[in-house]
């Protein structure tokens, strides 16, 4: 898996037919022209395709019809209610997060007590106040230093604690200014005031810039200088001479170095790659925002809806394309970084390999991303297309209206004007009784009142199915009325004929 980074082919390869389309634009056109027509809704990008593939593999595994397919079922027991058996879950996990953090806290607390103690002393020692003696050679200065840190009695010490060599005239005793211990000159570390200030307040110090840069250069981020005079340290010593410094012992140096490293780690600058990658991520976010809207607009335009105009689609399309271009060009730029490998030692081939793998993989990721979008983004339809779609829709709407009107007219002509079912219709929200056409046909020959009875009975049945019991009640009332009316019909019939005659006479 690891060495195969190099041999992955890059390019805009169509996931359906594997033709290399060389650019995103081409792929988009190609995919839309060739494959969209076949199954526009089925394709949602490469990833889902891959999923489908895997799914079909699974299906092939599970569906093997065999007359003897259950031979072994009887030998295994499983609880059907146990959900964990029906669908496999992630296995057990044991977490040490809490334990680890607790241990780490104990460790860190101990060190931070030590660090704070030293930093407090350090702050006093390098104080800029006027009444603090500055010159290291003076007695006042020494007195001031001893006020802050008690120096141990050097008469008891005969060996240097770090190099274990005996003190003599040529190997003189020195005191660490931070903890007062005795050390020899060779084991002493020298801490510049400027660096000490940085340690105390990394943000305001002028050193800030310098160290932040320095920290990326490996090896040169040692906090202190030793006085051993080999060539590389000469400069440091010059500096030491010209600037105020503190003599400290190795153990204090370690504590301070640790703090220094931590500050550097926190303030480490972003590598170029990440700055660029952020742009990609941004563009991607924007895409994720715009793309669904764009899709609905196109969908709606193509279905002839007038909610959106072509111009809306075009506007969004421009935004999308600019995102694509941004991703494409940024990732290409990152790809170029892979070869330059800035800031890396030439001998450090491992790091170079790593860095260029990172860049190449980001590019691959971007290409893949674009590929997915290319497949799922449709071009803005032309004016003609939209017009055609709208005409079509209009035609369809009219046709439907026509049909509805015809149906209504038919109904009106057939059904008497007793409006009980229509009122019940109005009451209903979401549920609507429908008239079975067959029933209507059967009932056509019957008296309108009888038809009405049939219909209401049918409505009651449907309402019962739908669980609308209050409606059932009101409909039943209607039914009773109708039945009553049906009983009285002969008389009414006569009466109505009389009425009509009467009207005619008038």
């Amino acid at each position: 898996m690891l060495p195969s980074v190099g041999d992955v082919r890059e390019g805009f390869i169509c996931p359906q037919c594997h033709h290399d389309m060389s650019t995103m634009e081409m792929l988009q056109l190609h995919f839309q022209d060739v494959h969209m027509k076949q199954s526009s809704s089925a394709v949602k990008g490469l990833f889902s395709l891959a999923k489908q593939k895997i799914k079909s593999v699974q299906d092939n595994f599970t569906t093997v019809p065999n007359e003897q397919s259950n031979v072994y079922t009887q030998f295994f027991s499983f609880d059907q209610n146990d959900s964990s058996l029906k669908q496999q879950q992630i296995g057990y996990i044991r977490s040490y997060n809490d334990k680890f953090k607790k241990l780490r806290k104990i460790e860190h607390d101990q060190i931070s007590i030590e660090t704070t103690r030293l930093l407090l002393r350090l702050e006093k020692l390098i104080s800029n106040d006027e009444d603090v003696p500055k010159n290291a050679k003076t007695k006042e200065r020494r007195k001031y230093e001893q006020e802050i840190v008690e120096w141990i009695d050097d008469s008891k010490v005969s060996l240097c604690p770090s190099c274990a060599k005996p003190f003599s005239l040529s190997r003189r005793k020195h005191h660490c200014r931070l903890d007062g211990f005795v050390i020899c000159d060779q084991c002493s570390q020298f801490l510049l005031f400027s660096k000490a200030r940085y340690l105390i307040d990394p943000n305001s110090s002028t050193l800030n810039k310098m160290t932040a840069n320095g920290s990326s250069l490996q090896g040169s981020n040692s906090l202190t200088a030793t006085v051993t005079t080999d060539d590389s340290n000469l400069n440091n010593k010059d500096k030491v001479n010209s600037e105020n410094y503190l003599r400290i012992c190795l153990s204090c140096q370690k504590v301070l170095q640790r703090r220094y490293d931590q500050i550097c780690f926190k303030n480490a600058q972003r590598d170029e790659v990440f700055l660029y990658y952020e742009k990609i991520a941004e563009a991607q976010k924007e895409l994720a925002n715009i793309h669904p809207t764009y899709s609905t607009i196109i969908e709606s335009l193509l279905s002839g809806d007038t909610k959106y105009q072509i111009i809306d689609g075009q506007r969004l399309y421009r935004q999308l394309t600019s995102c694509y271009e941004k991703i494409d060009s940024t990732s290409k730029h990152i790809m170029k970084l892979a070869d330059s490998c800035s800031n890396i030692d030439e001998d450090d081939t491992q790091s170079q390999f790593r860095y260029s793998a990172l860049c190449r993989n980001i590019r691959m990721y971007a290409v893949h991303l674009l590929q997915n979008y290319a497949i799922s983004t449709r071009r803005v339809p032309s004016e003609d297309d939209v017009q055609r779609a709208r005409d079509e829709r209009k035609r369809l709407v009219e046709e439907r209206n026509e049909l509805e009107r015809a149906a209504k007219a038919e109904l009106v002509s057939k059904i008497s004007s007793t409006d009980s079912p229509t009122t019940s219709k109005k009451d209903v929200s979401g549920w609507r009784p429908t008239i079975d056409r067959n029933l209507l046909v059967q009932a056509q020959e019957l008296n309108p009142l009888v038809q009405q009875v049939y219909q209401v009975t049918e409505y009651i049945r449907q309402a019962q199915i739908a669980g609308r019991y209050d409606e059932v009640e009101s409909l039943k009332l209607n039914l009773k009325e109708l039945e009553q009316a049906l009983k009285n019909m002969p008389q009414q019939e006569n009466a109505s004929t009389f009425d009509s005659y009467a009207i005619e006479c008038e």
Partner: protein
């Protein structure tokens, strides 16, 4: 009801690692073993889509730090890894670390790491039990090519690795306990079973609502020495055949030895999870694959309205070469055509059909007088490879080890008379008898002893055989059938029951189960996990797959997936040293 799926189990863990890490730029840090564990179940391109842009090994992290990368460290809990990780945390190259160990770790490790983490960049430290190679849904391996030490004993490292591997397998399938049954005749099996049982007791402390999980899984530990036949046979199902004739290593097939191979096909990846054709044909036999490939090609050809007709595999190969577009179109197809044509070349060139038929007759029928002349003929046939003669000699040696008219020495002499037979091979025959001869075996490997088996064979003899190349069914299938029917003898395959477990039993099992047990009835297993010390074969995998197709719930695994050549190496390292000395003396004596 679907069977448990080891590939899915590992994928779940890896998916979770990546998800937990959140949306940022990630690097995946692995060791040699975890790298193969991951690559068995995930294609790199798929992980790449989750913003994992760097894949590296813990032992080769470079100098340059990239503090805005997040590291997902998936490591085995070895001392070397811990040391490398400690060094890494002292000088972090990543901004933050999500650490996942593939197995249980000692408390000391946590402490050491917490002390090393000066920059407080460790975010998560967890155990994710994906500590085995998931090959197919029902097939796993621990990738230990040489399990046996001299005198067939455990080496401490391998024993530890095996226990860890099996525990991680159980945990990854959410099983906290199991009935462990082992082959009594094998010391190694007993040691492993005991160690597994005690370690399981110690490690399994996960809160679970699933009480049914208790004691329903059976782990069956078997020693390869019980059945040395399966790795000796030529194979005819696709996956098994590729492994036998070319070799599959971590889903990769090296085709560089194939004559006239194209550069990009020198090494191909064969992963059934990403290759539909392969998935569909893993268990197809050679004839079926050829037909299926032909169908695939014809389908394509139809598409391109080509007129040329495909009659033979050679035609197909020619066809592919004339269509460079086709190659791009589906790398999978050209890959499979290359492999199948290579397989058929080898089959034809070395007369493997003839060899295989003799092999199968040798072990599945009992006509000694008919088989010896056949072997002699093959020895004289210079088209047959030495390797295949060795297979036959080995099978003969095992099959007629105690036969009154054993002609092994005559056959050996014959071989040395007619061909340049490597001394290693002669030595191997001896080593193999020591490895899996009758002295060690307890099962009726050739089905010649029980009356049942004899009648079955008799009936088969009357009816004729369906497929002369697939008469053999591996012993493990027999054992499983017996186990399922409650006929696997406790005296031969006892189960480990520790005191703790008995207590746990009393606590957890329902009255009903107790009653059943009192009545001498065994509770049915929810699944069976087989582990074969000394490795498994794809032939066995095929047979287990067929059982699972009929609703069995069996997982098969072993220290390694062997083919004949890797098996030779393993057997030779495992032989008792005195045998080696003996044979050396033999050699020097001959020299004189």
């Amino acid at each position: 009801m679907t069977n448990l799926n080891v590939i899915e189990a590992v994928r779940f863990y890896i998916m979770r690692m990546i998800e937990d890490c959140g949306q940022n730029v990630k690097g995946f840090v692995m060791d040699k073993e975890t790298a193969s564990i991951v690559s068995m179940v995930y294609a790199q391109s798929e992980i790449l889509q989750k913003e994992v842009f760097l894949f590296e090994r813990i032992d080769t992290i470079g100098q340059k730090s990239l503090k805005h990368l997040t590291a997902i460290c998936f490591l085995r809990p070895t001392k070397e890894n811990l040391e490398a990780l400690t060094r890494e945390l002292h000088e972090p190259k990543y901004g933050s670390y999500y650490i996942y160990f593939s197995n249980f770790i000692e408390y000391n490790y946590i402490k050491t790491l917490s002390e090393a983490d000066e920059f407080a960049c460790v975010q998560v430290i967890q155990e994710f039990y994906a500590d085995y190679l998931a090959i197919n849904r029902h097939l796993y391996s621990l990738n230990i090519p040489m399990t046996y030490q001299k005198h067939y004993e455990w080496n401490d490292n391998h024993l530890r690795r095996t226990v860890q591997g099996l525990i991680s397998l159980l945990f990854s399938l959410r099983k906290q306990s199991a009935i462990i049954r082992y082959q009594k005749s094998s010391n190694m099996a007993r040691t492993l079973a005991d160690k597994l049982s005690t370690t399981l007791m110690r490690q399994a402390d996960f809160a679970t609502s699933n009480i049914n999980d208790i004691n329903q899984t059976i782990v069956l530990i078997v020693d390869r020495r019980e059945d040395a036949i399966s790795p000796l046979l030529n194979q005819w199902t696709y996956q098994a055949m590729i492994h036998e004739l070319i070799g599959i290593k971590n889903n990769r097939v090296n085709l560089s030895q194939v004559p006239g191979i194209k550069k990009e096909l020198e090494e191909v990846i064969m992963n059934a999870e990403y290759d539909e054709f392969y998935a569909n044909n893993l268990y197809s036999n050679f004839g079926e694959i050829a037909t299926n490939i032909k169908g695939l090609m014809e389908h394509f050809q139809e598409k391109h309205k080509s007129q040329s007709k495909l009659e033979s595999i050679t035609d197909m190969k020619a066809f592919i070469e004339t269509y460079p577009q086709f190659k791009k179109l589906s790398g999978t197809v050209s890959k499979h055509v290359t492999i199948v044509s290579e397989l058929s070349r080898l089959v034809g060139h070395y007369h493997l059909l003839e060899v295989s038929e003799t092999e199968q007759n040798l072990i599945c029928q009992s006509d000694h007088n008919a088989i010896v002349p056949k072997i002699k003929n093959l020895i004289k046939d210079d088209k047959i490879q030495n390797e295949d003669i060795l297979r036959l000699l080995c099978l003969y040696a095992l099959r007629y080890e105690r036969h009154a008219n054993n002609e092994l020495d005559i056959l050996k002499n014959e071989t040395q008379k007619y061909r340049q037979f490597p001394e290693k091979y002669i030595y191997f025959i001896q080593a193999l008898l020591d490895y899996g001869g009758q002295k060690f075996r307890q099962a009726d490997l050739f089905k010649t002893q029980t009356t049942m088996a004899i009648t079955r064979q008799f009936i088969r003899g009357l009816r004729g055989v369906d497929n002369v190349y697939a008469q053999h069914a591996p012993l493990i299938k027999d054992l499983l059938e017996q186990l399922l029917r409650g006929k696997l003898k406790d005296t031969l395959y006892p189960s480990v029951i520790s005191k703790d477990q008995i207590m746990q039993n009393n606590r957890h099992t329902t009255n009903q189960q107790n009653q059943l047990q009192q009545q001498g009835q065994q509770t049915k297993p929810s699944e069976i996990i087989v582990y074969v010390i000394g490795g498994i074969t794809y032939e066995e995998s095929f047979h287990i797959h067929m059982m699972n197709e009929k609703n069995a719930r069996i997982l098969l695994g072993g220290s390694y997936v062997h083919n004949f050549s890797s098996f030779i190496d393993e057997v030779i390292t495992g032989t008792s040293s005195n045998l080696f000395v003996e044979s050396n003396e033999l050699l020097t004596a001959k020299g004189r």
